[in-house]
């Protein structure tokens, strides 16, 4: 048993830290906040060259076939940098294509994703705002040429830059996943302005949007279990990013408490501040254990991997909210200013708290598993 990173994993972490420290400074993140696309093509290409985009893809498609632990390491570092961009939606969608796609679909999408030439995203949430696949109301009806999709998807991550959307819809066979061209007829994208300017979400309205039979990903009617597995993976990935953002907030709060003086001494010498920082560290360390246990469980196909994913999302979601909030409190007024960088990370964590099922959602999943 070894809970520590292997030398290779540590190397990946170090190189991710170094790359993001250089390319995703707070100033660089702020530039992207104001950018209409919200991401940097140059950085995206460099991430591809570093092997990040193909990190967990099979070698046949230019990937490195690494696991969720390695993904979590990268995502934690991205959270720590509040790095904007469609990285996680794209690798999650790639995972779906790898799991369920035909050879032709894999060829069409996985290699371009690994090289940084394609971006993808999954439209989980429907009009109903329920993360359970059963709640999806979007419908696909058969037409002469294939299918026509109708419905409304909400809060789809990075849909405005995606080369392909993965859209689950109800068919007579059951829930089915479709690969949809964002430029298809009858499809309207409506970007939403979110509290975190680095989190780009959009509504996708489908009004009889036509797709061919070849657009079905996996077997018709079989999308439910796949979506559940993707949600588990999404939960762990989001938890990893929240962990990174929370640790950044903790580091900033501790650093500030050491230098900010009031009443003639550093505020970190006051128990009111020091105890807050100790509690924040406790939650960050427990979050680390939760994220990497869950990531390992997914890779090892451990019996409790779905449970661990829900535990990680529920625990880290709550913990990151508290840690980031307390970081603002430790900073006082400066932490409330736009100019100071703390809110980059606070908002990053907050945005992810609501994605891939919030803490309440995952607590209910936990109870279903352990109190059946």
């Amino acid at each position: 048993m070894d809970f520590a990173f292997s030398p290779d994993q540590q190397l990946l972490k170090n190189s991710a830290r170094a790359f993001l420290d250089e390319h995703m400074t707070p100033a660089a993140v702020r530039l992207l906040w104001d950018d209409p696309r919200g991401e940097s093509e140059a950085t995206w290409k460099e991430m591809a060259q570093l092997g990040w985009l193909g990190l967990s893809l099979p070698e046949a498609y230019g990937g490195s076939a690494l696991g969720m632990v390695e993904s979590a390491i990268l995502l934690e570092e991205m959270g720590r940098a509040a790095c904007p961009g469609p990285y996680f939606p794209t690798v999650l969608a790639a995972r779906a294509i790898e799991e369920a796609g035909s050879d032709a679909q894999k060829k069409r999408w996985l290699s371009p994703i690994a090289t940084g030439d394609a971006r993808a995203t999954i439209a989980f949430l429907d009009a109903d705002l329920d993360w359970r696949p059963d709640a999806i109301q979007t419908r696909a009806e058969t037409t002469a040429g294939g299918w026509a999709l109708s419905g409304r998807k909400q809060f789809v991550p990075w849909a405005h830059v995606a080369s392909v959307l993965l859209v689950p819809a109800k068919t007579p066979d059951g829930l089915t996943l479709f690969l949809v061209d964002p430029g298809a007829a009858g499809l309207t994208l409506e970007p939403a302005q979110m509290m975190d300017p680095a989190t780009r979400l959009a509504s996708v309205t489908l009004e009889g949007t036509p797709v061919t039979g070849a657009a079905v990903l996996g077997k018709p009617g079989q999308a439910g279990p796949l979506l559940k597995a993707l949600l588990s993976r999404g939960a762990v990935g989001a938890a990893a990013e929240m962990l990174g953002a929370a640790r950044r907030c903790l580091d900033m709060a501790v650093g500030y408490a050491k230098v900010r003086e009031q009443f003639g001494q550093p505020i970190g010498s006051f128990q009111a501040i020091r105890h807050k920082c100790a509690e924040m560290l406790l939650e960050v360390e427990n979050s680390h254990a939760a994220v990497y246990y869950a990531a390992w469980a997914l890779d090892a196909k451990a019996e409790d991997h779905d449970l661990a994913a829900s535990v990680a999302k529920a625990y880290v979601g709550d913990a990151a909210r508290r840690v980031c909030g307390e970081a603002i409190q430790v900073h006082g007024g400066i932490g409330f200013t736009w100019e100071y960088d703390l809110h980059l990370y606070v908002k990053r964590a907050k945005a992810l708290e609501a994605m891939y099922g919030d803490a309440d959602y995952h607590r209910e999943l936990i109870v279903r598993r352990v109190a059946a």
Binding site: M1, D2, F3, A4, F5, S6, Q9, V69, V254, A257, K258, Q265, P266, G268, S269, F270, Q271, I273, R274, H275, C277, A278, E279, L281, L282, E285, N286, H288, A289, A290, Y292, Y293, W296, A297, A300, A302, L307, A308, S310, V311, A314, Y315, D360, H362, R363, E364, I366, V367, V370, A371
Partner: protein, 401 residues
Amino acid sequence: MDLTYSPEDRAFREKTRRWLDVNVPKDDAKTLDERKAWHRRLYEAGYVGMLWPKAYGGWEATPMQQAIVQDEMARAGAPPAINGLGIGFIGPTIIVHGTDWQKQRYLKTMLTAEEIWCQLYSEPNAGSDLASLTTRADDQGDHFRVNGQKIWTSSGPIADWGLLLARTDSKAPKHKGISCFLLNMRQPGVEVRPLKQITGSSLFSEVFMTDARAETRDLVGSLNQGWAIAQTTLGYERGANSLGRVTRYAIAFSQLVRATKELRRGGRPLLEDPVVRAKLGKIYAELEVQRYAALRVLSSLQKGESPGPASSITKLSYTEFEKRYFELALEILGPWGQLIAARDEFEEVDTSSGEPGTWATAFLWSRAGTIYSGSSEIQKNIIGERVLGLPKEVRADRLKA
């Protein structure tokens, strides 16, 4: 990163489980003699003193094996070994700081529980500020004369010996005038009075020392070095209970789930109430995180790494969790959760405290963990200063010193 147990650890777990299947006393060991006999069987099987050096009667097992034994004992509902404070803390102190004579005289009988040990540290006016203790040990040439009062002494009435901190130089700054002794508890000058806790039972005592005698040969380390000895973090039992503790939480959780299925409110089982479900989910998520964190600590101990002040995070984490756990459980269970005497087996619960009882017992006990062995506030000071490197606070006693 690999969180699978090694084949050796799996085999060790199997072996331990089989041994416990055969050997756990059918009726709980209740009398002192029964508890000592059980302890002795555990010791002879290699399950007590597991990390002690072989030279002193220990087994030189691994931290993981020690944690596995505690885990399996929790699973089997086995009574704990009896001399926990001695073996976990006092023995290792003697091994590191004691004389050869002390090691020969005290260690073996401690391991076999022929002699029971207690710790004489806290005083009515020296709790978190332990170094302000006022119990005196005056040098009489061939022995020290001890006068003062200790409190919160576990195993007081059954203890044969105590590890005592007493002031030997009242003029020195408070941290520099304290010495450490091994005190015979079976002498006329030592009186033990059980202290009734909020649970109604008496697991702690007050100890009054009136012209009691501590032999010069029982001074541990040098004169006036007692504070440094008390501050030494000794790793022999670290992580020992980490898995067993979580297993007891999990056993209690399954009892809680059973209760939410059987108890009804508003015409349906409690388990169908969404508010109850949210609370259950919160408890279970935190319980699992405690397990993951325990694995992380154990994996680091296995590699011979010392957590140092970071062990304060572990202690703070599980004791604060226990409070939330049993608070939520009592919110879920309503008046039924406040039964302090079980009417049948269904109403008993694994309280995690070592004292059998009900949900109310567990709830009350959960208030102790964040106070003993360094309160949560002291742990947060340690984390703040020694882990996060925050500046020390300006303290009145430091200004004087």
